[in-house]
């Protein structure tokens, strides 16, 4: 773990992103952060647990997470961030 190949690839499609901050606020691993204009960027890619929640909650289909071989890890919806 922690090697380069194991990092999840996260794409942010800026043309559709409206900088609402939802993906950043609810990422359980604090992978994402916001720039000065409020747009998300991937700050700590190595921390990503590949849960897929940023993608599921994005209202604009603007952030996507590539699956690692193991597939999406299930994270309890009830968990408090």
């Amino acid at each position: 773990m922690g090697t380069k190949e194991k990092k999840t690839k996260i794409d942010i499609y800026k043309a559709w992103c409206k900088a609402c901050g939802i993906c950043v606020a609810f990422c359980p691993a604090e992978v994402l952060a916001r720039d000065e204009a409020g747009y998300p960027y991937v700050k700590f890619p190595e921390k990503c647990i590949n849960c897929g929640w940023c993608e599921l909650r994005c209202p604009d289909f603007a952030i996507t997470v590539y699956k690692k071989d193991k597939g999406l890890k299930e994270i309890d919806e009830e968990q408090k961030k």
């Binding site: 409206k18 901050g21 996507t64 408090k80």
Partner: protein
């Protein structure tokens, strides 16, 4: 492109203007994602689906997806949908409405579609307000909240859409929130597979109107509110009334079998045919 997004893009109308018209962070977009994933998981083809809406921010939804779509008048989506279903029972007819659309102007259509048990899925985005027209109160605006038409405070009691649907006789009723997006996927999937009138109430946020007027903060803060006030039906079963105060239940609220309108209608046709022989 990763799988989930590829799936979403398969169903979007790319000739429409994107990003879509909804405010940054609006829950309707999250609900649209769940709707697309659930339709895909059920295995319906694009041509089998008819997506019908009324008017409102929620009513804009069918514009963006590549199904047979019908953007009707405010409050009348269920009436149009009933016609579509009776004319061609093979179609899967899904209706998306706002809270105003469904239980204010369209309230009578709603209770009677449930009572008749027409084979339709009704998805209602409940943001407790008229989003599109500037934040007027709706029948789901809670007592004590502020809207542009109750600027001191709202003095009426709110409908519970789900409880109304149960009482009106709907055989399937589920409630979710846009925060709990995976639960939403599964509720929609169950509703689409249900024979009969199936309702999914989606608790969402209109931070632009309701949130601003009630100082509830951004879309993120309103989703945190959803997270902190929703309790699954399974958990609620072991909670006291005191603990459930100010909370709302999410999950499948009712799932039962009742005679379907179209099946019964078919029987009448058969009876009429034999009688006339």
């Amino acid at each position: 492109m990763p799988e989930i997004t590829k799936l979403i893009h398969k169903y979007l109308r790319h000739d429409k203007k994107f990003p879509h018209v909804w405010c940054p962070g609006c829950g309707i977009g999250i609900m649209l994602g769940a709707l697309i994933r659930a339709i895909d998981r059920c295995g319906f083809t694009k041509d089998e689906i008819v997506l019908v809406s009324g008017i409102g921010c929620t009513g804009r939804l069918p514009v963006y997806v590549d199904f047979n779509t019908l953007h009707t008048t405010h409050g009348r989506a269920l009436a149009f949908a009933t016609g579509v279903k009776l004319a061609n029972p093979k179609l899967k007819v899904i209706v998306v409405m706002g809270d105003g659309d469904a239980v204010a102007i369209g309230g009578n259509h709603f209770i009677h579609a449930a009572r008749r048990n027409i084979d339709l899925t009704a998805i209602i985005v409940n943001n407790s307000i008229y989003g599109m027209t500037g934040g007027q109160y709706s029948p789901t605006t809670p007592y004590g909240m502020k809207t542009t038409t109750s600027s001191y405070t709202h003095i009426e009691q709110a409908f519970s859409i789900s409880e109304l649907a149960v009482t009106a006789g709907a055989p399937f009723v589920g409630r979710g929130t846009v925060y709990h997006a995976k639960l939403l996927d599964s509720l929609m999937e169950k509703a689409f597979m249900k024979k009969g009138f199936a309702v999914v109430e989606v608790i969402s946020h209109c931070h632009t109107q309701f949130g601003k007027l009630n100082k509830m903060g951004s879309a993120v803060e309103m989703m945190q509110w959803q997270r902190d006030h929703a309790v699954t039906v399974e958990k609620a079963a072991n909670m006291t009334e005191e603990e459930l105060k100010n909370k709302f239940k999410i999950g499948v609220l009712i799932d039962k079998d009742l005679p379907i309108y179209l099946d019964e209608y078919e029987k009448i046709r058969e009876m009429a045919k034999t009688k006339n022989k």
